[in-house]
Subunit: 561 residues, 2 copies
């Protein structure tokens, strides 16, 4: 039953997998899950049904079992002010023995499912998550504060694409090794023949530590990479963003059980804020893989202390754009305005530092002074967010009060080019919505812009010229890391210099983006998210290194005639 079910699922979803495998080789465009929430794509009732399914969770105990749990926790606060009041099983330090025992119990069966069986199961999980994409989008919206369409795309369709990408890489990686081989060494007289078997074996228990802003997009790659390679997975969500991962775990358990596997291969470990569950969990000897998205301090703690595990971290950085010159000033301003506004700049990929020469830049509209560059971007942001009802659909809500604190301090760092303003959300009166703040600052103030100021705050850094811009770019990224970088220049030699700098400090570079692609966005199957080559992240979505160490190959051999 077990293997039949899983094998059937692999066949059902093979075309999707093959498309993904082809795409990660060519790195051309591919998407398996439509990103438009339009009724023409998903059907007339999908949106309403999904919203109703989300609403039905409010005020209830979430139907997911966690071994060893003690009582429940209710920890979420919607940035839109909507009471969620969902209760989840509470995991504490004293639950861990039982939880880890339960997690490991199903691993032998899961190993014996083989590569195809596990790939089939995980692809089916993605398919079922896709069927609940509107419910998921509502859950992501009301925990992260993302506007609905963004929650649908980044938290739903694109997250599914990133999960599929991780499964594709892991599948390709596991299939590098044959399951059997005959080794025949020429020798005097008869040759020597051995029959060999090779088995993919998971490392143990994998821990996924979720974040507040992208609970699915940032957790799914690690979750599915670990699961498909034969590990059990414990998901510890951020206390403010549990629902999207509770739903994820529920679907994983449902599909695993249906195929005859132990549902405790995937478990939810929700905690009360302040319980500090992540540390003791991360140090358990059974935990062999950790995926973390969040602050630099805890990420570094994991890298330095959880040495029994493979640790994959995405932390924080100081993303930069170098502005040298342009043949399309308006498009430059509009493109950056969108980047700074989307989700109120609360993306790990949002540009923080815009390096602009004090003397200004050459453009298709003639020379623009430093102040005119700032005014141009500010003006584009103003137009983009001029209508409150439309603005909230781009900005979303502020994810937590820490962001507001930083935003309120930031005007003191320099000269305010564009003030942040509070917007009243037409649908959610308690929603906290803010527009981006743009502050001009001198190159010498590196202690300010050299650190991440997470939220809708960006700095227009006044440099002596593009040469200094490049130097500061190197310096800040080398020390503070970066998830993204951009450059605007009409000069090939300058572009070449910035490319070299980006290779040296290990960050992906977007050049002269003036259309519908933005420096803060990466496309699954083609763009790497993060690089693993600078302090912002020690891994990337997704490459071979992201999957290869999540399993081992164990062989046996014997003589054959």
């Amino acid at each position: 039953m077990t293997s039949t079910t899983a094998a059937g699922w692999l066949e059902t979803h093979r075309e999707r997998l093959d498309g993904a495998l082809e795409a990660i080789r060519s790195r051309g465009y591919y998407s398996a899950y439509p990103e438009s929430p339009s009724p023409r794509v998903y059907g007339e009732n999908a949106a309403a049904d999904g919203k109703a399914a989300f609403e039905a969770h409010r005020g209830t105990t979430y139907p997911v079992q966690t071994p060893g749990a003690n009582g429940t926790v209710t920890t979420e606060q919607s940035p839109y002010g909507v009471p969620l009041d969902v209760q989840y099983p509470r995991t504490t330090e004293s639950s861990l023995d039982e939880l880890l025992d339960a997690a490991r119990r199903g691993m032998t069966d899961w190993r014996n499912a083989g590569v195809d069986g596990r790939v089939g199961v995980t692809l089916e999980i993605l398919d079922r998550l896709h069927k609940r994409i509107f419910e998921l989008a509502n859950a992501v919206q009301h925990t992260s504060g993302q506007a609905f369409v963004m929650a649908f795309q980044a938290g739903g369709a694109h997250a599914l694409d990133r999960a599929l990408e991780a499964i594709a890489y892991a599948s390709e990686e596991m299939n590098r090794y044959p399951t059997t081989a005959v080794w025949e060494k020429p020798a005097k007289g008869d040759s020597i023949r051995l029959q060999k078997n090779f088995t993919v074996v998971g490392r143990g228990v994998a821990l996924v530590i979720g974040c507040n802003t992208f609970p699915t997009w940032n957790s799914w790659p690690g979750l599915f990479a670990s699961l498909v390679t034969g590990n059990a997975v414990i998901v510890k969500p951020h206390p403010l963003a549990v629902l999207p991962l509770a739903l994820t775990v529920e679907v994983c358990r449902e599909v695993l059980a249906e195929a005859g596997f132990d549902p405790n291969l995937v478990t939810l470990a929700a905690e009360r804020p302040g319980d500090g569950l992540a540390k003791p969990l991360a140090l358990r000897p059974e935990v062999k893989i950790i995926d973390f998205t969040g602050g630099s301090e805890f990420g570094q703690w994991l890298e330095q202390n959880a040495t029994q595990a493979e640790v994959f971290t995405e932390k924080a950085g100081v993303n930069a754009v170098i502005i040298d010159s342009t043949d399309s000033f308006k498009a430059l301003c509009n493109n950056l305005a969108f980047t700074l506004s989307l989700y109120s700049g609360q993306m790990c990929t949002t540009t923080q530092n815009l390096f602009v020469p004090a003397d200004g830049i050459e453009t298709d509209e003639g020379h623009k002074s430093f102040d005119e560059v700032g005014a141009g971007i500010a003006n584009s942001i103003g137009k983009l967010l001029g209508d409150d009802a439309r603005a909230v659909e781009l900005l979303g809500g502020i994810v937590n009060p820490g962001v507001i604190t930083r935003l309120e301090l930031a005007p003191e760092y320099g000269d305010v080019v564009l003030e942040s303003r509070a917007i009243k959300h037409p649908a959610y009166e308690d929603a906290v919505v803010r527009t981006p703040l743009l502050v001009a600052i001198d190159a010498k103030d590196e202690e300010v812009y050299g650190q991440e100021c997470f939220g809708p705050v960006s700095f227009l850094v006044r440099t002596a010229g593009t040469a200094e811009s490049i130097d500061l770019f190197r310096q800040t990224v080398d020390e503070g890391g970066a998830m993204t970088a951009g450059v605007y220049s009409t000069d090939e030699q300058t572009l070449e210099q910035v490319r070299d700098a980006a290779l040296d400090v290990g960050v992906a570079l977007s050049e002269n983006l003036t259309g519908q692609v933005f420096v803060n966005q990466s496309a699954a199957f083609s763009d790497f998210h993060g690089t693993g080559a600078n302090p912002a992240a020690n891994a990337t979505y997704t490459d071979g290194a992201y999957v290869a160490s999540r399993f081992r190959v164990i062989q046996s051999r014997r003589h054959v005639a």
Copy 2:
């Protein structure tokens, strides 16, 4: 010039690379470097010329430059008693700034050489090392104590195969990513098109820490995996086995310089014993990759402390063979006798624990009691090593005095089944040669056999039956790790149980070896050496995980029409 030379080398050696790539996919038999030192293969003068080249090094200063070095060191002691007196540049903690600066200086050019350029250069290095295989074999013999033919094979031909295997894996891994791609997303009106570039970038400086017993075989996979993926490599040899790695570094530098690259991309960091250079080197922030072969204590220290680096360790284990039954008792005894005798059991893969039921086993010669099993193996060892002149060609010399200390203590642990005897080497009167010691011990004495007793010491562990043998196998490998495991049984169900146990504890299993393949030997391209799944080693030669995290892929993107 640079790229032309390297590209030419890739063409020259492409067939060799393609053979390796095909072999790692099929895991069938492959070898690129003949393992027989016969004059029919290598020519009439090769042996004499190689020996002369080795002799010429004695008493001289080795011609290799190390940036920052202060004076020289002379640290080697041949296990054959032959004075070497080779002087190497001495690296100390105060040399490290200069050394690391020099190591990094050539990295941009090396990155710009591209995948093909670096593969070409490393394949040429292997080819030049192959041309010096007899010189290398002498150097390995007189530092490790291996007998000449073994030094030629394990330290020469097989080490070259393992190095080629690492290059093949790294080449395949880097070539998973296209260098350029066009990404075209369908959109209303015109589609969105981006041109993308992907560049493989090394992580930084790689450190290779060599061992005394297999200076080339254990160092080359990491060295070449790091070099070909764009890193600079510092080689820190064991003070008792410098010459084979000095020769390696010399050849690397010669080939790099010839192709126009900075020779300091590969450097030798020799130290005086007690200088403790490895720790400060391993903790330098520039060091991003570490390959280590040696004791468990320092290996664990590296894993736990050098958290800025990817750390690949091969440490120690308690290798086991479960003896349940056999249809070929003589062949079993002969096969194990060879394993225990080869290089006096000083291999990380030599069997230490032989689990045998107290009631004895069923064989083709009828029932054999526990004592008869011991006597059978002892008898085979006696025959194999009966003639001193032939025995020394199998045993080689004892690598260092620590081995003798352990050997002298071991008879006290139980009942001696076979005494170790000292053999006088007919050619080297000061050589220290010992035959294997076999000690019968009770299952309860796990504190003895549960730890590695490195050298010619094996334990015949008296168990209540095969079920207990399997339990003890699980327990000892789970706690102490193992590089190898074996089983002898005529019962399919027992074999299945042991296979499951081996998968659970993560060790490769050899079943019923009775011919010319031995549990302590692994064949490049087909057998993994170590698994990375138990405490004996956190990595394997070679799989995707061994190479994938040694580099990152950095992209850039821009609009195209």
